[in-house]
Structure formats: structure tokens, C-alpha cells
Amino acid sequence: MDLATETRKQTRIVPRDDERLKTGGFIRELIRNRILYLMFVPIAVYFIIFAYIPMAGIVMAFKDFNYRSGIFGSPWNGFDNFHYFFVSGKALLVTRNTVIYNVIFLTCYTAFSITAAIFIAEIQKKWFKKMAQSMMFLPYFISWVTVTAFVYNFLNYEYGIVNKILDAFHLSAIDIYSTTWYWYFILPFLYVWKWVGYGSVLYLAAIVGIDQEIYEAATIDGANRLQRITRITIPLLKPTMIILILLGLGRIMRGEFDMFYQLIGNNGTLMDTTDIIDTLVFRSLQGSLDFGMASSVGFYQSVLTLAIILFANYLVRRYDKEQALF
């Protein structure tokens, strides 16, 4: 603690000898920053053991796997495992749906999380603040199975609460489960509802981390609350926002499988608008235990995501190197 406050007092900027740092080879770099590299060793070991070694199993996507020969001994079968996905005639549709839904989700989630975080930070009564935050976290604990039961209870045609209310006002009942356009709203709403607590905690942590002196200085200069939000908080949240969006893009080809699977299930009427890659794969492979076919589409998703994330990261790097993911 002492060191932190001590050095904070003397925040004079020391010009760094960048040139010196840039020279020298790989080994010299390792030696120069050996402590820092050593500090990276635990995580590196972990990821080599728990991620990179099993990753070699990716070859299963190109193999006709059997137990006798094992993962590496099984015969290659080229792109046979990919065949079903691409001849289904839906590969393009579900890929598009996956991307569109994730973009909508990411946008709504980011907007709502930031809004919630900013307003929570403005609240002065501590008990209210704590309570509101805890409440926002509750949906995180409710599984999609339970959500599905509630939504059915609320929206189903015959005795759903919505239709009962409409009935009370002598309005005709609506059939939400067979009408596509409702779901463009229901799905993002549920997604935001589920994750807003999670997201707002992150943004709130970023707000709390902002140096109080900046606010104090602004107040002295006569900035009011609104101005402090728009001029200080929001610009300073940008790095957090960028990193969270980039990380969100890293899941752009996956998606909230449980939500789609539980809520929509096998509903043929909604399927063309709500089918994502994961649900299509699940449906196609239900009842078969084919490791190869299961991992082939995963590989396809990974490659696409890698391309997207490299591109997005490149854009961010052009704008500000330090805010990029890598």
C-alpha cells in the first residue's frame, strides 16, 4: 500500500528508453524481463496441459473415428464429416442467423449494461445500490429450462397470462409461438435480462476504477452530473467497452445454445428465423454419437471466428494499439 501512495505523489513522467528496449533478440528479451516472463509461466503451463494438448484432437474432424485405433490411428476421411452440414442447404442461413442474433445481443447487452452501470454509480444510498445490483444478478441463476417454463406460462395461447389479460379487455388472443416477428424482440429481451447484471458489474468496476481526482477537478471547473457522465465516465469506459465487445465477438459463431434450444426447440414454424448453427447441429446429430461430425462444424465455427476476430483486432490496433486484444 505504501509504495502505491508514495509513488502516486511523484507522478512525474520519466521518458522511457524505447530504443534500448527494442534492440536485442528473443533470448535477450527473455533475460531482460525474466521475472515478468516467469510470472507468465504458471498460466502457460496450465493452458498447454488443459488446452493445447487436447487441442490436437481437432484432427477428429477429418477422421473416421473408431475406438480400436484411437484418435490418431483412425483413418482419415477428408471432408466427409463436414458433408452433412453443407449439403443441408441451411449452412448459409444458420451462419447468417447466428451472426445477426449475436450482433443484436451484443449491441443490446452493451447498451443496457453501460446504462445500468452508470446509473448505479450515480446512486447515493448504499443499501439501494447493493440491493439493485444483487437483484440484477438474479436472472443469471435461473436456468433456461426454468425460463422456458415461465415464458410458456406467460405466453401460451390457451391459458397464458398475456392472453388472459387480453381476454379481460375483450381483445382477441394472440398466438406468439407461431408468429415470427415477436421473437426478434423476445429473444434479445431475455438475453439482456439474463446478462445485464453480469455486464453491469464489469462496467461498474471500470467506473469505480476511474481516478476520483478527475471528477473532483471537473466539479471544481463547474461540470454538473450530466456533464460528468457524458464527458468523463463514458469516454473513460471506452477501453472496457472495446475489450468486452472484442471478447464478445470471439463467441459470435456460437451463441446462447440453451436459450434457443429450450425456448424454440423443434418449432418448425419459427425455425427459419431462429435456427443457429448450434441448434442445427444438435438436431442433426441427435441420437447419433459421431465425434467426427460433431467436431467438424465446431472447426468451421472456430475458423470463421478467428477470421472475424483477427480483422476486428486489426481495426482496433489501427485506432489504438494498446486497446487491442493482442
Binding site: 490411428g73 452433412y84 422456458t148 401460451n156 427459419d272 461430425m293
Partner: protein, 545 residues
């Protein structure tokens, strides 16, 4: 961009190197994984010699001098009372064959992920539950199980061998070998729909035998029972069921296409009672007109409000809320409807059962493979495992122990030879509920009836035997290995385009089937049909021998 590329290059190289190293070391472990299967091969090749020696009288008794521990995997969850039952079981097994048992369970919801992994890993496992509905064919193809021949059966499972007809082992053949020991008593069940007698009477119906005759019953419910939906279907089980009943009025439909066995799918099928066993696409005659009849009627009912509008989102089965008055019909089979019938009896609701029967009044008997057990390919003690299973499956004392628990604690026998719960034990606090321990492959002829079974249930079970008729393809299991891409797409197309036809939520029945037919064609139904025909012909030829 240039700087990125510069920086990426070493990383990518590093990763490449890493993955090469990794695959190299995993190759080593792969060798390790090979060794158990090699030993399996060894036992495989040893078995003929074992059978030769079996014929020699001196060697008739298997050598059990070394004590072994057997590890078995079953489906479901271990009941709370398992440790007690297991120790009682182990006392018996130790005395009889010098072996003890360790049981593990694969949770009901995790079968698809965990079952193949356990078999693939070569973990300590001697026997596993196996069934045609539980990936038997695909796992056998991948080499998960040890092949079982008749001489092994004769030597190590004499009791079971005596009870098991040769067709059963025949049915289990995959690529020329049997990998499973089927139960000697396949389930005897027919699908049945439960309806309420009081409403039937109000609707003026007396003797309903066909499902389509229920229309006035539905109309009566719609008119007078505001809270009840005539057909309140759930997304999993009920959804294709009424359609299936209607289809069965016209043709002996196996309940699911043979190519996938999935009731939600449409594909390649056969008329169960056609002795020539002609394989047809469900988009061709005679199926297509029967299907259109079924969908036409379902559409009529759906439009009249007899079917719940959103079955896809409903997770509560009709048999679970039938007695609560939410559903006009409960769907199930003669085994799983017991709970519904008892609940209704307790509430004083009089019910009638309508079995789902073919035009000739029959239902297909269940496959031999619907419950069974397999020896893992890398079991170290397959002989002892077989002996243990022989006792568990065919010795009455063993059967009662593993299925019903400990007498006096988990079950008791009444004076008139019925099963009951002992004093102080209720269904709720019974630590070893029947059926729950996963031993569904034992000889069920040893079971006594329960004293709680309602009359209509007992009556149904008595009739079941008369309904059952072995279909032409009893014991045929399709090996989808060579057409798995097509099967995947057929399933996918079915859920999207056929499931609306099951519940009748289409504007135009003919147009709906035209779309489905073209989608199925694009998904490769013809190729699958050709493959089914080849395998079916081979099956019939072998059967005729």
C-alpha cells in the same frame, strides 16, 4: 498490418510446433489405448479355443480360483439404498463365483456424452448397459464391445442361454458378430391413450376402439370443460403421438422410421404386417395417403381448437396433467401409464384405455434389443462378468435383490403373492425404488405384480400379450454408418417440415407434404432407402436360413 503479421508469424509457428509435439505425445498415449483393445482381440481369438475346450468334459467348470472385481456401468442414478443392496449382492457373488461388483451410473441426461467416452477411454469397465435405443449399433461399429459367441454364452451363461432364443443373439448381429446379450424377456408393451369415462358418456360414446372416433369426445371437452384442452401435447413425447395413432388406423406403422428410429423423424419405413417386408419411402404409397389422412384430421382438430396451439414450447407431458384436468387424453404405453392410472384412481376419475393398434388390431412386439448388456471391449475378466450377469439376470433371488432391493426393507410379499411395501416404508422414503437401479435387462418373468396396480392397468397388461405380433423386421437394426450425413439431414428436415404436419398446423395438407417430399429428396432419402433395402434383404435372407 505488417507489424501484426510479423508478430503473428512466430506465434503461429510456435503453435504449429506445439501441436506437433503434442500430437506426438498423444500418439504415445494412443498406443496405451491400443493395448486394452489388443487384449480384447486376444480374448476374442481365445474364445474359439475356449469353446473347443468347453466341449471337453473335464474343463466344463470355469476356473474361478482368482478373486476379481468387476466394474459395471448402468444408466440412471444409484438409488440411495444401493450400498446395502450392493454389499448383499457381493456376499452372494463372492460365494458363488468369487467375484465382487462395483457399479457406476451414467446419468440419464448425459448418456450421449458420457457413454461413448467411457467406452472410448478404456477405463476400467467390464460390462455396460446396452440397448438398440441407446446407440448399440453405432457403438458396436466403433468397436466398443466384445463380440459374444454362442459357445461363450453356453459356457459362462448357462441359465440365460437356456432361456434366450437364438433369434435374440441373431438380432444383435452387427457386421457379422453379436456384441450384446439381450434380455430374455423383452418388454411387452403397447402404446395406449387414456380417456375419461364420464366425458365419453356425455359425448355419447360407448365403445371407442379407434382414435379417430374420439372427435365427439373432444367437442364435448371444448364445449363444457373450459380448463381442459382435448389434446394437450408436449414437445418431446406427445407431439407426433396422435398423428401416429391416426396413421396406424390405415397402416401398420412401426412408430418410427427404420432408418433413424426417431419418432420425430420421417424417412424410410415399412408396413409392419407386410410379410414380404417391402421397404418404402414415407413419401410414397401406401404411406403417403395414410399420412395425409392423419394430418388432415389433425388439422381439422387443430383448427377447431382441440389441440394446444403451442406444443413445441410445452414441457409437461399429457400423462402428467391428465388427472389434474388439464388434458383430455393422456398418452403413454402400457408400462409408464401406471402412475397416471393410479393417480386418477385415487382422485376417483374413471378412465378408459385405447390401445394404439394397427388395422388388424395388433401392435408390434418389442425388439429383443430393447434391454440388454454388453461386455466392454477392454474388459479384463469377460468370463467372470458373464457368469455374474448370468446370476443377476436369471437367478430369482438375485433378480429380486437387484430389482426390488432387500426383502423386508424395500419390499415385502403379501399373502396372495403380490409385492407390497413393508410396514413403515412408503414410496417416498423407500431407499431402493423398483426400476430405479437400472437393471432393466433381468428376467422379468420373475416379477410379481404390485398390490397398488389399478384394475384398469392389470387388465391392460393382461391384454397386451394378445395384441403383440412380431413384425417382419423384428430384430433388424439398421446400420447407418455409410449414410450418416443423409440421416443427419433427414432428421433435421423432419423436425422442421414434418413436425408441423404431425400437429396439423399447416394451411394446406397437400402442399405441406409436397414441400416435405422435396426437402427429403434433397436430403438424400433415396440413397438411404437403397441402403436400407440392401441391409433389409440381407437380414431377411439370414432369417430365412
Amino acid at each position: 498490418m505488417k507489424t501484426i503479421r510479423k508478430k503473428m508469424l512466430p506465434i503461429l509457428t510456435l503453435m504449429l510446433v506445439l501441436s506437433v509435439i503434442l500430437s506426438a505425445c498423444s500418439k504415445n498415449d494412443n498406443k496405451a489405448s491400443n493395448s486394452p483393445s489388443e487384449s480384447a482381440k486376444a480374448t476374442d481369438s481365445a474364445s474359439p479355443s475356449a469353446s473347443e475346450s468347453a466341449s471337453a468334459p473335464a474343463d466344463d467348470k470355469p476356473d474361478n480360483s482368482k478373486e476379481v472385481k468387476l466394474v459395471g456401468y448402468l444408466l440412471g442414478e444409484a438409488p440411495k439404498g444401493m450400498p446395502d443392496v450392493l454389499s448383499a449382492l457381493n456376499v452372494k457373488l463372492k460365494a458363488d463365483i468369487n467375484a465382487t461388483l462395483e457399479l457406476n451410473y451414467i446419468g440419464w441426461g448425459d448418456v450421449a456424452s458420457k457413454y461413448p467416452l467411457i467406452l472410448a477411454s478404456g477405463e476400467d469397465v467390464d460390462f455396460v448397459f446396452a440397448a438398440d435405443w441407446n446407440f448399440y449399433v453405432s457403438e458396436a461399429t466403433k468397436g466398443a464391445f466384445l463380440p459374444i459367441d454362442s459357445s461363450m454364452l453356453a459356457k459362462y451363461m448357462p441359465k440365460h442361454n437356456a432361456k434366450l432364443p437364438p433369434e435374440a443373439m441373431q438380432a444383435a448381429i452387427v457386421n457379422g458378430k453379436s456384441y450384446m446379450i439381450p434380455t430374455s424377456t423383452p418388454d411387452r408393451k403397447v402404446n395406449a391413450a387414456v380417456v375419461r369415462k364420464d366425458i365419453l358418456a356425455k359425448a355419447g360414446l360407448t365403445n371407442v376402439t379407434k382414435f379417430s372416433e374420439l372427435e365427439p369426445y373432444f367437442a364435448e371437452i371444448k364445449k363444457d370443460y373450459k380448463d381442459m384442452i382435448p389434446l394437450n401435447l408436449d414437445s418431446q413425447y406427445d407431439l407426433p403421438t396422435p398423428w401416429g395413432y391416426l396413421l396406424q388406423e390405415k397402416i401398420a406403422y412401426p412408430g418410427a422410421p427404420i432408418d433413424s428410429g426417431d419418432p420425430m423423424a420421417v424417412g424410410v419405413s415399412t408396413d409392419n404386417e407386410d410379410p414380404s417386408g417391402k421397404i418404402v419411402s414415407m413419401m410414397d404409397e401406401p404411406f403417403i395417403s395414410a399420412e395425409k389422412y392423419a394430418t388432415g384430421l389433425m388439422k381439422k382438430w387443430y383448427d377447431a381448437g382441440y389441440v394446444n396451439k403451442n406444443p413445441y414450447a410445452n414441457k409437461v407431458r399429457s400423462k402428467d396433467n391428465f388427472c389434474e384436468g388439464k388434458s383430455g387424453v393422456a398418452f403413454g404405453n402400457s408400462i409408464d401409464l401406471q402412475g397416471t392410472l393410479s393417480a386418477c384412481a385415487a382422485k376417483g376419475i374413471d378412465v378408459q384405455l385405447i390401445p394404439g393398434l394397427s388395422p388388424t388390431g395388433h401392435a408390434p412386439s418389442n425388439s429383443w434389443l430393447n434391454n440388454g448388456i454388453a461386455i466392454a471391449a477392454n474388459s479384463k475378466n469377460p468370463e467372470r462378468a458373464l457368469q455374474a450377469l448370468d446370476l443377476i439376470m436369471e437367478d430369482e433371488a438375485y433378480v429380486n435383490l437387484v430389482y426390488f432391493g432387500i426383502e423386508g426393507k424395500n419390499y415385502a410379499v403379501t399373502a396372495d403373492g403380490k409385492l407390497t411395501l413393508p410396514e413403515g416404508t412408503t414410496a417416498e422414503n423407500n431407499t431402493y425404488p423398483p426400476d430405479a437401479a437400472g437393471f432393466w435387462f433381468v428376467n422379468k418373468d420373475f416379477f410379481k405384480p404390485w398390490d397398488t396396480w389399478s384394475d384398469s392397468y392389470v387388465e391392460l397388461n393382461k391384454k397386451v400379450k394378445d395384441y403383440l405380433l412380431p413384425p417382419t423386421y423384428l430384430g433388424f437394426s439398421f446400420n447407418s454408418e455409410s449414410v450418416k450425413s443423409e440421416i443427419a439431414n433427414l432428421k433435421n428436415v423432419s423436425t422442421q417440415y414434418a413436425s408441423p404436419l404431425f400437429i396439423g398446423v399447416v394451411k394446406d395438407v397437400d402442399a405441406g407434404y409436397a414441400t416435405l417430399a422435396s426437402k427429403l429428396k434433397a436430403a438424400g432419402i433415396d440413397k438411404v432407402k437403397a441402403e436400407v433395402e440392401t441391409q433389409a434383404a440381407a437380414f431377411l435372407a439370414a432369417k430365412g436360413k
